[in-house]
């Protein structure tokens, strides 16, 4: 009578649903939060990451050190897919990995629901990270929802050969001297370059340049209490106008959109001479510009310093093994391990002690004319002193702003004024 059994099972399932999903099926286990026993019971920990955390070998190492732990790695290709996955499972209230990797830019909206994440603050990790790194993942009442993994301190990558052709200084130190100062200084140097070169632009995209500028503003789009000020904030409008003036009126932009096919192909055709670049961008430039000589990197960033990207490990309170998960997350984000991740995939560490490591400081990059990339990025990371506040609506507001810039810089469907009006409308619709 297999049939009957199956019908019973199906009707039970249907009844379950009819009871508006009362607690039938598998109930959640009791969990002791992050304070439980560790190291005794057999446990399988799932870790969700995306893109490239550089943890594969570290997982193996951890399993050897902790025989009771088996690690399952759930990897998503892009941060967008990871975000869809995280959101769906948060919304459904189950199914998240024991440890979920998150991107820095998701923090604002996740901090709103900090009760979904375990509090990871612990005397053992006090002072482990660069100040701005740990502060970004801390709620107002002191809950730490994520352990920082890597960071994206930015420098300026440039084409030394094109600089030379245009009669500009082209060695690292002179370029750093020339570009040191405000954004306007950076744009002025660009005007000189564009005037003296034939058809090559100064930077790739208005949107990417804007991102570097806005990340130096403390409260760009929102007040600490969540009030949206994006459309009234004079700082935002000034930066918007300044970057479009430079891009369109002064013709410094190559009018590309980052990541699009045209952008990828442009690395092969001398389309632009400089690019703001965090550590993880170096490999992308190298890949896209294969066969092109002349890339170099200068220890400088307009307007002081800035960070772009970087991730955290969080522990959802849905999980049944929070204590073991916390132990693993703490181990993974310790300076020694992050140095290994840096060696394997070039992820720049966000831990204070890691910045003093010989391995890191001794790193050079053959593609960038053997530049001491480790040392340069350490200097760039130490120079960061601003903590831009990003509130719960940061993501959609910034998308709307990027679209506004693209309309003027790439599509040429709007002038700066009309595009700004559309931006105001879009923010109003949130």
């Amino acid at each position: 009578m297999q049939n009957r059994a199956r019908i019973t099972a199906l009707s039970a399932a249907a009844a379950c649903l009819a009871l508006t999903l009362a607690a039938c099926g598998s109930g959640g286990e009791e969990n002791a939060g992050v304070e439980g026993e560790t190291g005794t019971e057999e446990v399988t920990l799932s870790v969700g990451t995306f893109n490239e955390f550089g943890y594969e070998e570290l997982f193996t190492e951890y399993e050897e050190l902790n025989p009771n732990v088996t690690i399952e790695h759930k990897k998503a290709a892009t941060s967008n897919e990871a975000r869809d996955n995280l959101t769906t499972r948060l919304a459904a209230g189950s199914g998240l990995s024991d440890i979920e990797g998150i991107e820095m830019d998701w923090l604002p909206e996740l901090l709103e629901y900090s009760d979904q994440f375990a509090d990871l603050s612990d005397p053992a990790v006090e002072g482990r990270w660069l100040d701005w790194k740990s502060a970004a993942a801390t709620t107002e009442d002191g809950q730490l929802i994520g352990y920082g993994t890597d960071a994206g301190p930015q420098a300026v990558c440039y084409r030394a050969d094109l600089f030379e052709k245009a009669g500009l200084p082209s060695d690292r130190e002179s370029v750093a001297d020339m570009l040191d100062g405000s954004w306007q200084d950076y744009f002025d140097a660009g005007k000189k370059f564009v005037a003296a070169s034939d058809g090559t632009a100064w930077f790739d995209s208005a949107g990417a340049t804007y991102q570097g500028m806005i990340n130096q503003v403390e409260n760009a789009y929102e007040e600490e209490d969540g009030t949206v000020i994006a459309t009234e904030n004079p700082e935002v409008k000034d930066i918007y106008e300044q970057v479009l003036q430079a891009s369109v009126t002064d013709g410094l932009s190559a009018h590309l959109t980052q990541w699009e096919d045209d952008w990828t192909a442009s690395f092969q055709s001398d389309a632009f001479a400089t690019k703001l670049c965090p550590g993880w961008m170096l490999g992308i430039i190298e890949g896209n510009a294969e066969g092109i000589d002349g890339w170099d990197i200068a220890d400088v960033f307009p307007g002081g310093a800035g960070n772009w990207g970087g991730s955290y490990l969080t522990i959802p309170t849905q999980g049944a093994n929070q204590a073991e998960a916390k132990k693993l997350a703490e181990w993974l984000t310790a300076p020694e391990q992050q140095i290994k991740a840096f060696e394997s995939k070039g992820n720049f560490p966000s831990q204070v002690d890691a910045l003093e490591s010989e391995t890191l400081l001794g790193q050079t990059n053959a593609f960038f004319n053997d530049a001491p990339t480790g040392e340069i990025l350490v200097n760039r990371a130490n120079a960061i002193d601003i903590r831009p506040f990003k509130g719960p609506k940061y993501f959609p507001i910034n998308d709307a702003m990027q679209q506004a810039l693209t309309r003027v810089d790439v599509d040429e469907t709007d002038d700066p004024a009309s595009s700004w009006e559309k931006f105001v409308t879009a923010v109003g619709a949130l």
């Binding site: 399932a13 379950c16 649903l17 999903l21 039938c24 099926g25 598998s26 799932s46 995306f50 893109n51 490239e52 399952e72 790695h73 759930k74 990897k75 998503a76 290709a77 892009t78 897919e81 869809d84 996955n85 769906t88 499972r89 919304a91 459904a92 209230g93 189950s94 199914g95 990828t264 192909a265 690395f267 092969q268 993880w280 961008m281 490999g283 992308i284 190298e286 890949g287 896209n288 510009a289 294969e290 066969g291 995939k345 070039g346």
Partner: protein, 304 residues
């Protein structure tokens, strides 16, 4: 074939002729229209269609035979020699064989069950009279109009309650029978299965299920074969839901393949080598089952 004389007895010669015609006096694979061999123009048109169809697959293969720089530099029109190396790194990077096994299992089970249940329902909607049939069919079609993106969250809740998240059940069960399949089979059987045939076997004393088995299924064969193929392929390439609901230890092919893109700089020659590898089983299926699937088998609606 016992029904024809039977029909002749009960309903006269005309009906018998009609039934005879319904049995498809069409030979296996016989052409429609006239039997003339088509001309040069026809082949030219077809060749253009096929070229357009095959080009992207060929392009994927081309990229897969080169190295990482090929996307930014432009794709050459001759294959390089890097395919085996790329394929090897695909097999090293992802649990290819496990994913392949899962994909075969999921696609096969789904294709079989969709065909069986859709044909059953299609047979009922097209050929049987019952109260509310029109309204129910409209309802079936209406279910296709529900936008899928939003169903993800509630569907995930259902799967979590059933305790199926991470298991292949969560991918198989929602696709066991589709509105698309039911609707298609209904529309196909409307014309392809003459009513006289069913009446004939009913008069012979066959039960409903026998009528379905001996008349309905054979008449549905060409469409059923096509539906099986479509369902198999669609299940094979389905990414979003499996990606959301499955765990890394137990992926289907598309879920495993996306791991190839997880890097700061994506090496598309490896990604597309993986895409080509995952397509090979489907092309083999075409080669093996193609003849069966497309030769328009109408060897009489009843195996007699």
């Amino acid at each position: 074939m016992s029904s024809i004389p039977m029909i002749e007895q009960t309903a006269g010669k005309g009906a018998a002729r009609a039934a005879q015609r319904g049995l498809g006096s069409r030979r296996r694979g016989a052409p429609g229209g006239t039997a003339r061999r088509p001309g040069f123009l026809t082949y030219g048109f077809l060749a253009a269609v096929i070229l357009g169809s095959v080009f992207p697959l060929w392009w994927s293969f081309l990229v897969g035979t080169h190295d990482s720089s090929v996307i930014s530099k432009g794709v050459p029109l001759v294959p390089g020699g890097n395919f085996l190396a790329n394929a090897a790194s695909v097999l090293d990077t992802i649990p290819f064989w496990k994913a392949l096994g899962n994909s075969v299992l999921v696609s096969t089970v789904t294709a079989f069950s969709v065909v069986l249940f859709s044909t059953l329902a299609g047979f009922a909607f097209a050929k049987l009279r019952f109260r509310g049939s029109k309204a129910l069919l409209v309802f079936v079609i209406a279910t296709m109009a529900v936008p899928t993106q939003l169903g993800v969250v509630p569907l995930f809740i259902v799967m979590a309650k059933l305790g199926w998240t991470g298991s292949l059940w969560a991918v198989i069960v929602p696709g066991v029978v589709t509105a698309f399949g039911v609707f298609w089979m209904t529309q196909y059987l409307r014309d392809a299965l003459p009513d006289e045939l069913i009446e004939a076997v009913r008069i012979d004393g066959a039960s409903m299920i026998q009528a379905f088995w001996y008349v309905g299924l054979p008449a549905a064969r060409p469409a059923a074969a096509m539906l099986a193929l479509f369902t198999f392929v669609a299940t094979w390439t389905n990414f979003f839901w499996p990606f959301i609901v499955l765990d890394p230890s137990n992926p289907t092919l598309p879920v495993a393949l996306q791991l190839l893109q997880a890097a700061h700089f994506v090496d598309y020659s490896i990604v597309l080598a993986g895409a080509v590898l995952s397509t090979i089983p489907l092309l083999l299926l075409f080669a093996v089952a193609g003849r069966q699937l497309v030769s328009g088998i109408m060897q009489g609606a009843v195996k007699g």
